[in-house]
Symmetry: C2
Subunit: 378 residues, 2 copies
């Protein structure tokens, strides 16, 4: 299955460098997982993922369940064989997607009846069904099926949603076979510290091999998230990997690392790339801007990626304005390179206790709140 | 500028193997040029073009003139610097595009006033202006501005159109600076052998360093094109490179090579790729077909490209059905690999006088007429 070991702890914060060992490879943490929704990190050939030294990718159970179907994937040897990727994969539970159209779906204690966004067909996910589907997909790390609490909610609603997630976590834990795949439990509780702490305690009692936090970066103000992560940091168990789901901007990541979080996924680098919004060490660049029309300089002079080595801002702008597929390819490579380099810098900074300087560099470039989209980063 | 040398002639046909030397590299002929319309071969990172051993790419003057503008490209050091491609490039004259909306544009002996397909703005191309724009772009091979005769036309219309092309060829020849870039003259005359022969004779008198044939693959029946190429083959000058513009399918290529043609460009492999239509040595595959849903085999078991080595038909179908950008990337790589391997096989077959067997293999797979789209291959 998996094992996790902390190699080094930061002196000035709760940050740590660790290794997560899986049957398909060892992952250095803190780690950022590119999102490969439907079995491909959008606009990215596997060859480029390898060049980026991608350690772990995330795939979406909901999307793969609907298309090509988890049975098809299983018949073709599982997700690794199907997409021809032999490094570790994590699948989410499908919960985030089936709850994102809460008003359209029928939610009960049993599970969620939902409509396919592809053809309107009706489907049912329960904790048991989600685990079954994730077992068919065969990722190395799988996630408990949870009720993704929306924002805003009042305390009573947040408690009810959290209670449901806890009941479902018990059911996921019960049917999980536990041999090949590592199942992570998910802490919910919205923005309420007491609920988060209670949820954390209950999840820990269930003895999962990994610990995740859901329901962040769903529209709550940035300072609320950062404060809550800071308060939770003292209660983290330490010996488990801590996965903060769906987060976030470069500043979010470096702050969360300082609060003890080890694993992250977010669509920001890949989605922003396709929208022409590019991460640099000097801040965001919107490549469509007219000022780049004849700009022969690189996107980011301090970036070592082949896009910055080889192409000008003028060419990248031209490709974007022209709607060329190469625009998405090059922009995605650059943004993922930025995120990968950021995580590498974070791991190095923990080693030399200089996360503070890195944080200042990022907040100087991106602002105290870290910029980026405040919601919908999943 | 350029030089062309025939290294080997086929015994059974007029096919020949040659080398076209340009300041930016030597091109082995017969050669297929991938189409890089707006400064990118669609969906193809340059790294992949290099893997494909691409020798020469085509870019469209019309598209680059309108966006980003030939002045912008010139200010950024020319097309090679702008797109970061240091191997040979050929630009067309813009004629094909401005004539493709003949009814919307004002055509006179002076030139063509046309509307931008992007914003409706009015522009004027004359032979002199086309050469000026192509000089600003800075490709290694540039093309005369010609009147692309539509199909069908009667003999009188075809003559008038050909006469205009010949007048314009004289004007292009007169303003061409001739030092850095090689200008090819273009033979027109539609499907009329007498007009084609007259046009050929007039173009040869103008002493261009390369000879092109336009106005094929514009809707005329395949046998008409193949017969005409066969009749023209005996009149080709031999010592110049012979470029058959906008052609064609695999069968078109092998037949044209046997008639003495050396250079080809066509959007078929790249456009078909994006439409999920894939070339194999067994014929065309439409990857969306349901029969590939759980097909774990490669696209083409006899193909050595990384797509066929690594991915299943089921995965390629899934990517296509899901509208993933990776579908266009992988399909384009495979189709271009097929075309590049086809040209390599053609060159080898000329060396051992076995073009007949290769032709039979292709007509067995694609039919006598070669399949593909009968028109609009440019």
């Amino acid at each position: 299955m998996i094992s996790f070991e902390v190699l080094h702890k930061d002196r000035a914060s709760r940050a740590r460098v660790g290794v997560l060992k899986t049957p398909r490879g060892t992952v250095q943490t803190p780690v950022f997982m590119p999102v490969g929704t439907a079995g491909t990190v959008k606009a990215t050939p596997h060859e480029f993922l390898a060049q980026l030294e991608t350690q772990l990718i995330l795939a979406n159970t909901y999307h793969l369940y609907l298309r090509p179907g988890s049975d098809v994937v299983r018949n073709l040897g599982g997700l690794h064989d199907f997409i021809s990727w032999d490094l570790p994969i994590l699948t989410d539970s499908g919960g985030y997607q089936v709850f994102s159209h809460r008003e359209l779906n029928k939610i009960s204690d049993e599970g969620v009846e939902f409509r396919s966004h592809l053809d309107g067909s009706r489907h049912f996910f329960s904790p048991e069904r989600s685990i079954q589907v994730q077992e068919a997909l065969g990722a190395d790390i799988i996630m408990a099926f949870d009720d993704c609490t929306p924002y805003p909610v009042n305390h009573a609603e947040a408690r009810a949603s959290m209670e449901r997630s806890m009941d479902w976590a018990v059911r996921c834990r019960a049917v999980w076979e536990g041999s090949r795949q590592a199942l992570f439990g998910i802490v919910q509780g919205s923005v309420y510290l007491d609920l988060r702490l209670e949820s954390l305690s209950r999840i820990l009692q269930m003895d999962f091999p990994g610990l995740a936090f859901g329901g962040f970066s769903v529209g709550e103000p940035k300072p609320v998230m950062h404060d809550l992560l800071s308060q939770l940091s003292h209660q983290l168990p330490g010996e488990l990997p801590h996965y903060l789901m769906g987060v976030g901007t470069p500043v979010d990541l470096v702050l969360a690392v300082q609060n003890g979080f080890d694993m992250f996924d977010c669509v920001l680098p890949t989605r922003n790339a396709r929208n022409g919004t590019l991460f640099t060490w000097q801040g965001l660049i919107r490549i469509k801007n007219a000022c780049y029309r004849e700009d022969s300089g690189p996107l980011d002079g301090s970036c070592g990626c082949f896009v910055c080595q080889k192409y000008s801002r003028a060419y990248l702008r031209h490709l974007y304005i022209s709607g060329e597929i190469l625009s998405s390819i090059l922009n995605t490579f650059h943004n993922l390179y930025f995120y990968m380099e950021l995580m590498s810098e974070i791991r190095a900074a923990i080693g030399r206790s200089s996360l503070g300087a890195l944080t200042k560099q990022l907040t100087d470039a991106y602002g105290e709140l870290g910029g980026g989209s405040p919601a919908g980063n999943h």
